[in-house]
């Protein structure tokens, strides 16, 4: 009886635990996907900040003027830049995931290439956002 129970012990497949993320060498698609999840969680945590800024921008002319004051702090700028990156990465990898769902670019090589292409779109756009935020143009 115990022998058959032993035999029937099925293999366990576990998710990568959050503490193991760094030690895993993920393929490009896996890493882009991990950052998709990370950027999503980041934006969830920032939701109150964003709603507060939206509130300030619409309530009155006075609160709109206060917004400029808030934006002048470099801490806020860095936080907003981080969120800008999160949004752009999440959007671009999200579109990639939707295309994969439609079986577009689903074979191994194409998927690996698109996983790298993601950064070539999201990072330059983040750079543009950074230049705009820090008043280069």
């Amino acid at each position: 009886m115990s022998a058959t129970l032993q035999q029937k012990k099925r293999p366990e497949f576990k998710n990568i635990h959050v503490t193991q993320i760094i030690s895993y060498r993920l393929p490009a698609g896996g890493f882009a996907s991990f950052l998709h999840r990370f950027s999503g969680a980041l934006m969830f945590l920032a939701l109150p900040l964003l709603l507060w800024l939206f509130d300030l921008s619409l309530t009155s002319e006075l609160s709109y003027a206060r917004l400029a004051e808030v934006f002048s702090s470099w801490v806020v700028k860095v936080v907003l830049l981080g969120l800008g990156w999160a949004l752009l990465h999440h959007l671009v990898t999200g579109i990639r995931h939707l295309l994969l769902d439609l079986h577009i670019g689903i074979d191994r090589d194409a998927a690996a290439r698109s996983a790298l292409l993601v950064y070539f779109i999201s990072l330059p756009l983040t750079l543009v956002a950074a230049l705009k935020l820090f008043g280069v143009f």
Binding site: G40, M43, F44, L51, L58, Y64, D101
Partner: protein
């Protein structure tokens, strides 16, 4: 059981997450369309200043469209956060608590965003 894999997988009954999977994608498309259209308009067409910015949210259709997109965002966030909690929080009681707090918090955000929009 043998036929319950691959393309023959049984996906009816308890839905096995199909509804959330689909909702996550539909809400994503709704947000992407709004975000890109809104972003292009706000960056390249809209004149600077409070008048033009607040004026954008005066028509009822814009309030409704924005709120619908925010509702889509909240549903999308719920599906995503639930997925994260399911993967990383193993003790059932803590996971349940995380679900409840997230739902309450998102409900509060929904009410808050409606209040912001309808004050313009």
């Amino acid at each position: 059981m043998a036929s319950n894999i691959g393309t023959r997988r049984l996906v009816v009954g308890a839905h096995y997450g199909l509804r959330d999977w689909l909702a996550q994608r539909v809400t994503a498309v709704v947000m992407a369309v709004y975000l890109i259209a809104f972003g292009v308009y706000a960056l390249f067409v809209l004149p600077p200043g409070y008048e033009a910015w607040a004026g954008l949210f005066v028509p009822l259709w814009m309030k409704v469209a924005t709120l619908v997109v925010l509702m889509a965002l909240i549903y999308h966030v719920w599906v995503g956060m639930r997925e994260i909690f399911m993967d990383y929080i193993k003790p059932t009681s803590i996971r349940l608590l995380a679900y409840v707090l997230t739902l309450l918090w998102l409900a509060a955000c929904a009410v808050w965003s409606a209040q912001i929009l309808w004050r313009v």
